[in-house]
Every structure is written in C-alpha cells, then in structure tokens.
C-alpha cells in the first residue's frame, strides 16, 4: 500500500507536503515543460505588492559556496497586475495557489491582502515580513515583535482565509517572533526566508550586488533553517512550513522530523527544474522503506532522548 502523503496547513488539505517557495518558481507556468505543477502540495507565487515594482538594479545575484545571494527586491506587476494578467493563467491548477504578500507599509499589506481575499482560487496568503531586499518595510517588519504583531493583526482583520506568516531568520530569537505572530492571528508560519549576506569581488573591489547586501539561500543555510524550524515548532501550536536549502527528499524529511508539517523547495528549482516530483516520490519511498503508513507520523518525530 502506498503511504499517505496528505497534510493539513490550517484549513488547507495538501495532497503532499511539498510546496514551492516564493520567488523561485515564478507562478508555475515557467515549469510546465518539466512537470505538471498540479502534482505539488502547493505553490507560493512571487512576492506581490500594492503597485507594480521594477525591483533593484542589476546585478541581483551572486553565487556563494553551496548557495546564492539574491537582491531581486520584489519585482512584480503589483496586485492589480497579478489579478488581471496572472491569476487567470494559474487558477486552473489543481493545487493550492498561495500568494506571497509584501509591502512597505501596513496599509500596503492590507490593500494587497484584501484584494487577494476576493480571489476564489487563492485559498491562502503568505505574509512576507522578511524580505531583506527592499529599502522600506520587508525585513524590518519581521525583525521586531511589535511590528510583526502589528502587520499580522492588521492583515488578519481583512483576510479571512488561511494566513501564513513568513519569518525572517535574521533575528536573535525566532521562537519569540513565531509566538508573536501566532498570538496576532497567524494560521501557520513559514520558516525561513533568506539570511542577510554579502559578496565582494576582490578584483574590482566592488560589491557583487547592486544593493551591496542580499538574501542567502540554498544548501549553505540548511543547518540554520533546520535549527529554526525545530525551535519554532516546539514553541507554537500552529503548523510550521519548513524551508531553506532543501535539495533532496532526505533534506525534506529532516525538516519534517524537526517539526515542519510541510516544506517548500526554493533554490533547488534552479539547479533541477524537475526536482519537485522527485522530492515527493523520494518521501514516499522513504516512508515505504521505513514502513511508515502516513507522513504525518514523521512530523516532529525527531528522537532526542
């Protein structure tokens, strides 16, 4: 018998615990040549703001040891552009389409969340209070409890479906941040966004990124992400979505064991655009091999005594 892969994130029933991470999977169609995005447990689309944004100047990317820095800075068509141009193309996917909601002010977050709330085929939003690549807002909301609470509460008032808050790893105490947003009404948290990093070209003596600093992702950050998922999942009752450096099914299983109910695949999509179904299949194989009937019994199943 095939192991059961379904998991619940609040009201969402995911067909499997594998989602794709915001900013790394476009909106889905970019990967249709490689596999049917509907096989995924969910898709979190690119960060969406109140207005169209051009993002940061080029260069926006630097490769680092087993990782990369990005400084895209929320380039997107704005919420209205999303609703008009993109939503019609993705609303037929037979998986949970989740919009990553970003902004510079609480008002902007509210505006975007309210508009997305009206979309039938978007069952959840992921509140991005952790983008390190914008001058205003972004990570600033996610690095202090009062502001994280403020933005979460404000959005909670206007947003009636599943509200996921994506936490920043650039904090002293991630469990405290998770508790704060749980108290403010979040239905789940995503852990982690990128670590703030920097790359320098020694030959030209210049920063590689136009913005000097950027967000670090990829396998390099996996140990930090795992630790944070573990700390957060012990601290809160709402589900944790784990991400940061997942490349293989084994990595994904580590996050589940650490306490994540689902995972997101980010940078790995760039290395292998067909990685999604491989990770789903790999989790299933692992469960069969270990004679575990239901993936839910892995969640938080780390043996620590």
């Amino acid at each position: 018998m095939k192991p059961l892969l379904e998991v619940n994130i609040h009201k969402l029933l995911l067909k499997n615990p594998v989602m794709t991470a915001s900013g790394t999977f476009g909106y889905g169609p970019e990967f249709e040549d490689f596999y049917d995005p509907s096989v995924l447990g969910g898709i979190v689309v690119k960060g969406t703001t109140g207005q169209l944004r051009q993002g940061n100047p080029y260069p926006r990317m630097a490769e680092t040891p087993m990782g990369m820095l990005n400084a895209v800075g929320l380039q997107n068509k704005g919420v209205d552009g999303f609703i008009k141009d993109i939503y019609p193309k993705i609303s037929h996917y037979n998986t949970h389409m989740i919009v990553n909601v970003s902004g510079s002010t609480v008002e902007e977050y509210i505006e975007v969340a309210e508009k997305i709330n009206a979309l039938e085929h978007i069952p959840a939003i992921e509140l991005n209070i952790s983008c390190p690549n914008v001058k205003e807002g972004g990570m600033a909301f996610g690095t202090s409890c009062p502001s994280a609470i403020a933005v979460t509460q404000a959005v909670r008032e206007v947003y009636k479906k599943t509200l996921i808050v994506k936490l920043s790893p650039n904090v002293t105490n991630i469990a405290e941040m998770a508790l704060a947003v749980e108290g403010a009404g979040a239905d789940a948290v995503s852990v982690i966004n990128t670590l703030l990093g920097m790359a320098i070209d020694a030959e030209t003596r210049q920063p590689v990124l136009s913005t000097i600093t950027g967000g670090l992702s990829g396998p390099a950050i996996k140990p930090v992400a795992l630790r944070m998922v573990w700390q957060v999942s012990k601290a809160i009752k709402i589900p944790v979505i784990g991400l940061g450096g997942i490349m293989t099914a084994t990595d994904a299983i580590e996050f589940l064991l650490a306490g994540a109910t689902a995972v997101q695949i980010g940078t790995a999509n760039f290395i292998d655009p067909a990685v999604g179904p491989k990770i789903i299949a790999g989790i299933s194989d692992y469960l069969e091999r270990h004679q575990i009937a239901d993936v839910r019994s892995l969640i938080g199943g780390l043996r620590t005594s």
């Binding site: 900013g23 790394t24 040549d33 490689f34 990317m61």
Partner: protein
Amino acid sequence: MKKYIHDFEIIENREINEGHFVLVVKLSEPLPPVFPGQFAEVKIEGSPNTFLRRPLSIHDVDYAANTISLLVQRKGDGTTHLGTFKPGDTLNMVYPLGNQFHIGSAGEKVLLVGGGCGVAPLLYLGKILAKNGIKVTTLMGARKGDQLMEPEQYQRNGELLITTEDGSEGTKGFVIHHEIWRERNFAFDRVYTCGPDAMMKAVARLAARNNVPCQVSLEQTMACGVGACLCCVVDTTTGHRCTCTDGPVFDASELKNWID
C-alpha cells in the same frame, strides 16, 4: 518552445586555442527544435564551487549527427572544470532556453559581429541565415591571431572578416575599426552581435549610424534560466526584462543607455 532536461553524451572535447574549447554533445533520442540565439543551462558535475548551472550559447546544431556544440571560454572554476570532461562523460542540460535571433527575408545582406568567445552563437546563426537565402558576412575579432575561434567554420556561411588587436591576422584593431563600417563600404540590411558589452554597444552605435537594426545577445548573470528568479534583468525601454526569457537577444534600440 518546449524546454527539456536531457543527459547528453560528450562525443568530442576539442581544444581550439588557449583558453577555449568546443564540446560536441549527443542526445540518444532525436533533438528537439533549437534556434539560433538560444542557450542551455549546463550542470557542471564535480566542481564543488559551481553550485548553479552555467548558461552557454548553442554554438552549433547538427540534426544529422543529432549533436549540439558549445564553444566555451575557461573563465572560472565551472568552465575550467567543464574543460576536463571527456568523450563518454555525461552532460546534463536544460534547453533550449531564451528567445532567438530574428531572421529576415531571403536576399538580405547581414553582418554578424563577434568578439572573443562571443562568436559562439554566430556560427549556428550564420548557418540558418545562409540556409534562408540571406547573404552572411561574419566579422570576427580577437586579441591575437592564435586566439581566433576556428575561423574556417564561419567561412562556410559566407564571407569572413577578421580583426586582431595586435594585427597578427586580418585588420589591426577592434571589430569596430574594420573598414567595413565606413559609410561607403557599409552595405548591410541588418547587424547581429555578441561579445563584451562595450564592444556590442559600439557595434550597435555604428549600426544605428548606418540606420540598420542591430540585434545583440546579452550575457547577464543567471540563476534559473527559465524566467522564475528575476535575477537576469536588463533595463529596457519597457522596464526590467529577463535576459533568459525575453532575451538573450534584444534589439539594441530596446536597451536603455545603449544607443545615446
């Protein structure tokens, strides 16, 4: 155009001059359609400092032999390691990516201008242009004569002109110093160029001065190659656009700060 992830077998690794080599890779099933100007994202296995794939232009396609060629410059760890791949080794590529050079109508006369390793996409382009009844002139620039990139290959597509910085072969100077650019000599309907940004900008300005369109092939740093990460943008008259999907080929007139 449908994109694929395929394992190719390396058939040949041909050193063509100091710092450059050509990989010929073969697919076990029939090749899908691949157009001039497109590129592949290549996985370089066994290079610990090469985390991301590397974008490389389609240098040539041989449907009869079912092979693709890549012309590669040893630049950093990744391309240097790629140079150690041997016949029989496997090369994983995501391809064909990006848009393509616009091909005009039969009877056109066009100039292809490549600097250094930038000639890579111009071989397959010239082949297709010639096949379409277009008269091809390729202008190839290099530092020295022994840094030219298998010039004989381009002669098959039409006339070949050469400039070298030290004058050891062809005209002395940069590609823009070739007499072909003089107004009385210039008799082209269209210019295609690939190479260092500074060279392409100069070429685009010369084309503009001669009132012909100029297509340029850009090399912005990429992470995904499929339009998902938005890392590879270039500033255009219509805002930031992705080099990997809206490009790599752009009309020079679309690019901001390219033609003054």
